[in-house]
Amino acid sequence: MNRLAVRSVRSRITSFTACGLAVFLGATLMMAFLAMLTTGLAHGTSGDDRSTLVTMATVVGGWAVLIVIFAVASTMQLTVRQRSEEFGLLRTIGTTPKQIRRMVSSESLLVTGIAAVAALIPGWLLGRGVLAMLRNGHLVSADVHYHSGLAPFAITLVAMLAAAACAARFAARPALTGSAAGALTASRVGSPELSRRRFWLGIGLIALGANYSVMAMTMGNDGGDKFAAMSLAGPASVFWSIGLAVFAPELLRRAAVLGSRFVGRNASGQLATIAMRQRAAELAGALRPVIILVGISTGTLYMVGIDAAAGQLKAHDVATNSTELLNLVVVGMVSLFAAIMVGNTLVATIAARRREFGLQRLAGSTRGQVTSMAGIEAALVAATGIVVGGIAALGAVVPYTIVKTPGYLPTVWPWLFPAVAAVAGAVTVGTAVTATRRELRQPAVEAVAA
């Protein structure tokens, strides 16, 4: 079975590269934050430095890890979903569901393992960089020594392997239940209904987000901890984003219905909105990172903005300034990760559509029409992600604004949300168009036969 797994990975190199990249970048981030934890807990570190480092690793690192694991699971799920038909085929020739599960697990472990090991040195270096920044910003004393050890790597590796294997199994499930022949055709029809499990997962995450929002509002001004509001509002936008992202297929179907009113008589637009309703499950893989990107960047950056505005009124204190800088850097890293994930998943979804594009061209679509269809589709995905991510961001922004200012919505940085939206839109549509063009280079007949 392992040999089959190796061959299977080789034959789907684009999808697995997407998975590998998600794991690699995710593991790098995760190891860097865990290294803050090990450095903080190391013997030579003093009490104040210890609490700063541990707080940072658990609060900021905690939600970064959550995003990373979600991204890895989401990409893995996408890769496996795309292969339902192949699993159906394997079953009709006598492969048992158990054997397929084992193959899927081996594959995901193989890819995840390689990518996580590759992230070992970058993760170590990034951790050292973050610590250097903390030292330069005088958030920790200059004599704190970087102490990474093997623990961050081991924890990251286990977390990544577990996330990938669980996601792969979960995604393979629909193709492995029911009859083999049914699995073969089911993969080609529509998208799965909202299962009870997924419904409650989403509702649970949103409830957690709401809980953090309320806590940020009520406890954000408590005591002397001036970072309480941020450490509560930060996770709020993360949980809101991930919770809403769970409903990505349903959101996309709605968006397609709405979008069909705007495309008018444009053939590519009509085709895009019709196809989106049927392919919502696959496109959901592309939507999720957009929601995360917009939700978390907007949410956290507005908090930084509000603090910056407040800081200008008060006397400058070094700690506040460096915290802002640190926040910006951390948000920057996580946003960059999310932006790469947006491009990454889009490339993976589009690479799997070569045959479909060929079919369209044989039915009379010009290359331009196929490209514009993919572009319109991506624009709809981006628009949905921007709206939903914006809503998720409110989960952090509103409580934080209430706590820190007299109003409900921030008055600082009015350009921020449009800027985040523009970046998300540009990355989504740009990647989709470029990736589609690449898939159209081959003659249509060959693309369909392959």
């Binding site: 053939a267 309703r277 010009t366």
Partner: protein, 249 residues
């Protein structure tokens, strides 16, 4: 005027030492209203010939004209527009868009050409009715049988009123009764048909059969019946051997 005309069409795949001649100077004229079958063993160049004739592949040498228009020198964009208007396709594995219903699949060529209007719904339903599937028009391809999918594909090929239909093994994936339905449909409803097949029964629906071997047309049979077509196919090997011997001399 001929609907389709091939003059000295050559197609070489690959270059240098790896070059394989798939078509070696094929000439063919198809007058309007004919149903033509092209037969030959695997690797004889049948599909390449069809792809060249339909503008899906560019010949290395020679000319292809469809409805009097030379396909050479047109870019992909122009060729696609031309195909959409003048050429219909039926493929072995149906090639329907999986996420479009039967109705939407038939409507697709009209949508792409931007010619959907008030009367098109009526026309699409009429087309689907013509292939006996009006009652299934809201189903997705995966919810239809192979024969039904191929009938939808025939309706899609006919909807834009093309001057010629190209069919590549249209019955290759069908049982004999579905195959008979599809062939009868093509014979009755299509204007001019060029069909590639290796099934003598399918070929017997045609007005005439051309036999292809090693990239060249070697013989022709009018008003074919399945038995003589089958016999001719078995002789093809000898014919090819004969031609090769001649070439050596």
């Amino acid at each position: 005027m001929n609907v389709l005309q091939l003059d000295g069409v050559r197609k070489v795949h690959g270059t240098g030492a790896n070059a394989v001649t798939a078509l070696d100077g094929v000439s063919l004229a198809v007058p309007p209203g004919t149903f033509l079958a092209i037969m030959g063993p695997s690797g004889s160049g049948k599909s390449t010939m069809l792809n060249c004739a339909a503008g899906l592949e560019t010949p290395t040498a020679g000319t292809v004209t469809v409805g009097g228009v030379d396909l050479a020198g047109q870019d992909d964009e122009a060729l696609t527009r031309f195909r959409r208007q003048h050429i219909g396709f039926v493929f072995q594995d149906f090639n329907l868009l999986p996420y479009l219903t039967a109705y939407q699949n038939v409507e697709l060529p009209l949508r792409l050409a931007g010619t959907v209007n008030r009367t098109s719904r009526h026309r699409i339903v009429e087309m689907l009715d013509g292939v006996g599937l009006a009652h299934r028009m809201d189903r997705l391809p995966a919810q239809l049988s192979g024969g039904e999918q191929q009938r939808v594909a025939v309706a899609r090929a006919l909807v834009a009123e093309p001057s010629v239909i190209f069919a590549d093994e249209p019955t290759g994936a069908l049982d004999s009764s579905s195959a008979a339905q599809v062939l009868t449909l093509l014979r009755r409803a299509a204007p001019t048909v060029v069909m590639v097949t290796h099934d003598p029964v399918a070929a017997s629906y045609a007005d005439s059969v051309y036999f292809l071997a090693d990239g060249s047309l070697v013989s022709r049979m009018d008003s074919p019946d399945a038995e003589s077509v089958a016999r001719q196919l078995t002789h093809l090997g000898e014919l090819v051997a004969g031609r090769r011997a001649e070439a050596v001399r």
